[in-house]
Symmetry: C2
């Protein structure tokens, strides 16, 4: 049983109540707690030593990444983050100075994004550090953009460049909060999420939730320089295009909207965010799964994104 | 640096914003997210294998305990729980059946308490299972009962019986949600919390936050049968009264209110909750720390409650 199979099983019969607008299965849960003009976003995300960071990672970057991953999920709903709780599980022989620096990195990003850190806890985890962040946010009432809204004919977009984030970006990425809110305010997005497991894996979540397929144009996928460099330096590394589709932790936005809005969006984006690439990488089609088109032919894309458990 | 010293250091300069009514340092954070008649409670709590449960603990009880601990924190604010996210960190060789049973135990308690489970994540934690729950709840606006409101002359109350919970109660306890809400609706509580680290340790949190001291009447402390049995069976075990003050995981309510309301409360409680003991164990006094009075003399109580890191 891999991670996705386990999650599918665990999420079958979850208890629910009248507050739930969207439960398990999207980037954040969406709750109606009675705020007249807003819905509440609720998300947790954990980073674990030797998986998401190493003993060599500077502690400030560990703390920053732990919060940034969660912020990226709020961005994936075009939301505004509000308040976070922090759980730090530590070996018994922990270094207080090290933990304080984890908080320094986290607090700096929280301040930058207007997020309050309202508590949490420390507990013992022999062997390794684990940090779990719980984050609340808000979206305008009725404006939730889920994974399930993609329609046949939609254009598929990604922000930034994909692949090779292990070279450094996985620690330094900027959660696309402002970009996602701007998109939601100015365009009618049909589906939206953030890329944590690679375009090839994450796009499948939109396709499955929306019961559609996708055709990706290989030359249109923005491959990050880091992915190209890795392939050049190491013949055993993934080819750059495969890295762009299957490397995890890009933390860019993936979204679809009606094709008729695509050119208008690209124009407006370039004026608003001149420093950040926006790429139309393909279109939503009838059927299921991902087809990849290059100049010569159309291929089925079978590789999945990053899966925690094998 | 022990757990409390580390927390004191980490909570010094936390980022805040206009939504924060009460941040780190109470049982739950209290947030104003714009619900006209309510404030939002926000809490996380983690259980770790070999600390809060063992390899022998039935998985249903592990899941139940993970959620029940968090629910007890909502009770500690006299709140109503709403929705939870569940983070399960698992060794790579996890047994899916075992994890499903953890969820069974958690889901049963969630249904009983009207809580929706709205998602979460699984991640890898080589070596041991760790479960972190993030929980949202609500309280009537302006009705938060913090640890900082105890006043000189207040009577100090505890529900249930204390000590020896390791014999079984730590897995089977009932979060005192209904009792706390009833108390808050019918009496003006000055301070309220739940007992997770023992009366001796937790009462100090109220005393420190309220800048007062306490006098405990030894014969008035309700010692659990489990604590008495342990002392009888094992001469190396804590004396029962010490166990009642220092054993962790009682998950009973600890609160103070004006002495003039004490008799009225005891009367009303007996009618409302005839199956659950309520004990007046002492009073709030000027000064600091805990004095223990028995028939012969008054002693200073120096022992602290359970501290995770030594």
């Amino acid at each position: 049983m891999n991670e996705f199979e386990l999650i599918a099983r665990l999420t079958q019969n979850l208890p629910t109540n009248a507050s739930v607008v969207a439960g398990a299965g999207d980037d954040c849960a969406v709750l109606d707690l009675g705020v007249p003009d807003k819905l509440i976003l609720f998300k947790t995300d954990a980073v674990v030593e030797d998986i998401h960071f190493t003993k060599e990672t500077p502690p400030e970057k560990i703390g920053r990444k732990a919060l940034a991953r969660c912020l990226s999920d709020i961005a994936a709903m075009a939301g505004t983050p509000t308040a976070a709780l922090v759980t730090v599980a530590l070996p018994k022989d922990f270094d207080g100075e090290f933990v304080a620096k984890i908080y320094d990195g986290m607090n700096a990003l929280a301040k930058q994004c207007g997020v309050a850190i309202v508590g949490g806890e420390t507990t013992t985890n022999p062997g390794r550090i684990l940090i779990s962040i719980a984050l609340l946010g808000t979206i305008p009432r009725g404006k939730q953009i889920l994974r399930s809204g993609a329609k046949v004919g939609d254009a598929i977009f990604v922000t930034g460049e994909l692949g090779g984030s292990i070279a450094g970006k996985h620690l330094d990425f900027e959660p696309r909060l402002a970009e996602a809110r701007w998109l939601a305010e100015h365009f009618q997005l049909h589906a939206l999420m953030d890329l944590s497991d690679g375009l090839g894996g994450d796009l499948r979540h939109i396709l499955n939730a929306s019961k559609v397929g996708a055709q990706i144009l290989k030359p249109a996928v923005p491959v990050a320089r880091a992915a190209k460099l890795r392939a050049k330096e190491n013949t055993a590394a993934k080819p750059p295009f495969v890295a762009a589709l299957t490397d995890g932790e890009d933390f860019e936005l993936l979204f679809t909207l009606a094709s008729k809005d695509a050119v208008k969006l690209l124009d407006a984006w370039q004026r608003k965010f001149p420093g950040l690439k926006l790429s139309c990488v393909g279109k939503i089609v009838a059927g299921e799964g991902i087809l990849v088109r290059d100049r010569l032919a159309t291929h089925t894309f079978n590789a999945t994104g990053f899966v925690h458990f094998k």
